[in-house]
Subunit: 406 residues, 4 copies
């Protein structure tokens, strides 16, 4: 008797097969499925299915608000776009899932945690990093990494153990989704010169199929987070879902890119993140209006570090916390409204205002009123601003002529 | 008699009025106009006009290739987007113009350089920084900053000195353009909540007015620079102009943003840079395919520094040169083709390949072939990767429970 | 009648002469002198002197604890050494002085602030930056910058206005000091090939004159700040003063360097900071023991930014606050003791411990106990750690031979 | 028959035992020993010993100049001090050793490389990273990592295979040394509160035992590298060895610290690097004199990245090369002389000059001559320098009072 194990359960074939497989190893399996906004998740059905295939206990947890407020919010505040464009969909749910699993493991006296990642991707690292951080004494099982089965062998094993097998042809796509977006990897996409086929997309229409007239929305932010669409306040999770629909219908949020996976290889990824595309563009423009220049110019360095850390499984680390202390401090003034134009694949800011925190003030900053002052100050500023490089050229003449050659 | 002065001459009212004004101060004025691809520039007419209003000599110089190869090229290689989105249009032409003016000053024995910037913007700093670097002994005159005239007084002065005055109402817009893009500042845009009116744009149609079918192009790069459209090789300046047309016709390249000007104020800017939008997006995606991961993750820090330096008048500095040594070294492997889809305002990569330098190799990097190897290596990697944060939690229990509380 | 002005008063000739000079301009002068630990400051005498030479009111404020706790403490936590070695002596007192002056200006209804910096150094920027930040409507007077007097003219003016003139030869040195250290600039030091003469130093003996036996001290830190010497707890200001004596007597804390002044020129500086040399070396070593690796490797970037900002007059800025939020978050675990050896000019750590936060734990981290685990994990780690560069070489063969050439 | 293997051979017990052990696995062993300046290395004896214990071929290579010029030189130019104080002794020889081993492997048609690192340290990663980069098809053997022997078992195995066993008690220390320094790890040092005993040091006398009078030397640099001591030019390797003697005799170069090892644990290290302490301090001070301010302030970021990469086994990577392109470009102007005072444990600059590249020029930069110019320019400079933070306070009043509260 090995003891209880808590399994991150999705309801799919892999994690369903994992239940008898872990039982064979002597574990009592406690299945836990989290709703993080993945579309079409029937939580009751999934909860029951786990019990049917052998779990001794099965949890279904609605974690959508927690996911939005604790995991997506930092990404918005930090403009976290991995390698410039990917808003970190899957990387965000892993530490949340593990936090719940470890809590249940402690409550239930379990000795181990199981997850269903392959041995070739990022997610195994994210799952296990979170387990190590939260309780390094918990044993980790990764059945999928250990199966070493072909698809046919897996199906045979499933049939032998009364695990329901999906009927019909297997989808060519491997999808991970939550309310912040959707990631798609597939054989056909592995040639980076192949264009993504129409059925690779699930949250967006194509820009060509989007409406012929633009949609304008006013997005209101408080302390760096969106709180209202067109003045209508709603919880972050709901606002994201509403925007996914609005923006997805306008063909917005498709990303098709080559990416550096943390295990050292490049992969071709097809993502959709409609709400993210709108929110993060608007957030950046509101920061342009409200952040002081030095903050605006330094924050991107912190952002890139944070982004890489999220991608690279370092959510539960002291550096993440300290960097977020920086980010949170900058967001106190990020209050205001950005008017976004959504049209056939693009989301662009067309107007912005901040009643309380705009640093663009026509009385302070326009050409006209600052006139006299600026023109005198500028000359002195230029002299000192350019002095070090001027002296450098006077001594070294890298770009300038030496006096004797003039 | 004060001596000769070399004037950066545009043919417009301000720099034309500057000629008699500088003569009044005792200078002999040598006018120099550079063609850096600003649309509609009739160089012969401008050259003659300078002589008519009093210049003792007048140069018209076609610097388009030099501008593209020496000033735009670094921006492409460095993905230089100021504050994330502005590809540095005006900042690029200033050091080029001054390089020519200083050369002519030396040839002609001039004692001073004049430029026509206002005292409230970035360009005065860029002009004067370049003059200081190339010859700090040259005196600098900035008539516009010194005029202290109202529009009416300027026109009266012009009429008194036989300077042609434009007929009709003054355009509400203040434009600076070259082959890399177009910047527009205007009274109506100074309220950031006002949307940019249709006539604010000059290089692009609106996305709504763009064709209903997408345009696909293959953009070929060699060592980080675009060399061919759909396989047709052309000089960089010509390629940029061709792309400005193609992309502008598809509504691509509009930027509407709040920006931190280097003199310390925020301004609202409306830019167009159609070719830049296509080239820089494609360049970034080709780097995703060809740059090693550490290079890909470190280069953005250098890029941001370089970008700020270009914006902030630090083109002719030793740090710029050293940073470009880094950038140039990274670009040797950025060879390949990116297929771009241009459609109603957006330019997105849909396919990419590099025959010689792709680090994405289906034989090396795909899930399938790396299978066995990866699954064993990953477990060890995860252990060491997460070890420091794991030990930190074991000691400090910031996110984890203390053993006695479990 | 111009109104009241608050003057940063030191008791020296320059700021004493400033009092009648400001009166001549029509101001009623309120003198304020702060004790920030400058050695030998007789605050009562200084306070009286201001009244004698014409101030309508005179404040003497003991700000030593405030200076240590609010201005020196961030420097310790952030290991702030400008250009690698200067612990920011003068830059720290300026914002503190201005905070008091602005408060008094508001209480007294003053319209202006005066400081006595030259127009060639850093301090004018630091004083005025703080005034601008705290109340941009306060007018600023800088008499010293405006005097345009020779030494003789200044003395004549002093005599005419009953300002006491120091007897005897003027010291060749210009000193600024507080409890954190002492800065010396002087004509003889302006040739960087000249060695600093013995009388240039004021807080330290020469290493040669220091005792022949080392002094060992145990320095205890709590949350990144020193709280006790050899177990004896004392307030930070007192601890610094005690260490200045201990370390200064051992010849520790002399710095002789070329420095980049923020106004664009290089200067040669001779500093002493005995306590700083000991505290900051010990603090860094305690961080080596208690900071998680990623924090330890990232914090220096933040530190350098903060350090430059302090030097460059950006203490009262939002970026400073946000960076300090990062720093403060890292210091929660910096608790422990470092044994320092002080001997003839050098202060080095020889032992260190942290009962509560050491991440070096012989049970967790030594060779012996981690044996089995490490040896298996390392192989996998190495494979994935080196994979991107390995693939790069396989494709590009920059350092390796092509297969056909082997 | 497995084929030929090239072994990194030191002459010590571990790598001697490795020869029969590899033979048992079927390899023909080719031993290669490099002289990288490790003290007391009798290369002929080592070469013969390898043959005696069974190698089919044995190389002894004097790589001292190559080591100094190709591996130490970048460290000097980049001021590369890991975690602020360790000049990277062992990390430097690993890629050099592997470069020779791979070359010999190719010449000899070997199929594998063997090194003798433990599985718990950094060196295994550095050796194997270099092998992967230079020829990923070469098999790697690490006998020491695979032995799983106690000391007694190793000695028994040695005796059984005619491997000479050292007589007497085993040294408690594990040493790695080359001409750049010496690293010592030992059981007694594993408690970080234990002070290093006298016999832990090998290249330096204690400061107390050093001469009572200081030694002054003039160190001349060309393009960032030291070329002469007191005017006497010598090759870099010879200069380093001469300085090791000079500085070591003055008690200089001892480092005692807690360090973050790249495999995720903290270790306590005792290093000696006398020449490095003098050269790197002098180099930094010469940079203070000759580097333009922006270069001086940006270079440390690049330096820290390079330093971590060297420590973390990333010598043969494209990012290393690109960063070195930056570093090399900055060093063109680092020419001049620094006078260093060596005294009882400390090496400090006391004078410095650069005839050709000093940016400190009394005519350009001193208080006196720049007087008039500075005083006017400063006021304008201060206004624009402080404008963004001033506006921020006017809007947000974080540190300042709101108008209504004044």
């Amino acid at each position: 008797m090995t003891g209880k194990i808590v399994l991150a359960y999705s309801g799919g074939l892999d994690t369903s097969v994992a239940i008898p497989w872990l039982q064979d190893k002597g574990y009592d399996v406690i299945a836990v499925c989290l709703n993080v906004g993945q579309p079409g998740a029937d939580m009751t059905f999934i909860q029951q299915k786990a019990l049917k295939v052998g779990a001794i206990q099965s949890y279904a947890i609605d974690a959508q608000d927690e996911f939005a407020n604790e995991y997506v919010a930092p990404v918005i505040k930090a403009n976290a776009l991995y390698e410039g464009d990917y808003p970190l969909v899957s990387a965000l749910s892993r530490p949340l899932i593990i936090a719940h699993l470890v809590k249940i493991a402690h409550e239930q006296g379990a000795v181990a945690i199981a997850h269903g990642s392959t041995g070739k991707g990022n997610d195994q690292v994210r799952f296990e990093a979170a387990i190590h951080a939260l309780d390094p004494e918990l044993k980790i099982e990764d059945p999928i990494r250990d199966f070493h089965w072909s698809r046919e062998e897996e199906i045979d094993y499933a049939k032998d153990h009364n695990v329901p097998v999906p009927i019909g042809k297997k989808s060519p796509y491997s999808i991970d989704a939550n309310l912040w977006g959707r990631a798609n990897e597939a054989g056909i996409l592995e040639n980076p010169w192949n264009q993504a086929p129409d059925d690779a997309w699930g949250m967006t229409v194509s820009p060509e199929a989007a409406p012929d007239a633009p949609t304008y929305i006013d997005l209101t932010f408080e302390q760096g987070l969106p709180v209202a669409i067109n003045g209508q306040t709603q919880p972050l999770a709901d606002l994201i879902k509403a925007l996914n629909k609005l923006a997805g219908d306008n063909g917005i949020g498709r990303i098709d890119k080559i990416e550096n996976r943390m295990v050292g290889i490049k992969s071709r990824e097809v993502y959709e993140a409609p709400a993210a595309a709108v929110i993060m563009t608007a957030h950046h423009e509101l920061e342009n209006l409200t952040l002081e220049r030095d903050v605006a110019h330094y924050k991107p360095l912190i952002e890139q570090q944070l982004t890489n850390m999220i991608y690279e499984a370092k959510w539960i680390t002291p550096l993440f916390d300290s960097l977020m202390a920086f980010i949170d401090d900058t967001q106190k003034v990020v209050n205001g409204v950005v008017k976004m134009k959504l049209y056939k694949g693009s989301a662009v800011p067309v107007a912005r205002q901040s009643e309380t925190n705009s640093l663009y003030d026509e009385n302070l900053a326009t050409y006209t009123s600052a006139d006299t002052f600026d023109q005198e100050a500028a000359a002195g500023f230029i002299k000192l601003w350019t002095l070090p490089a001027t002296v450098y050229e006077e001594v070294n003449h890298v770009h300038s002529q030496k006096p004797e050659d003039k």
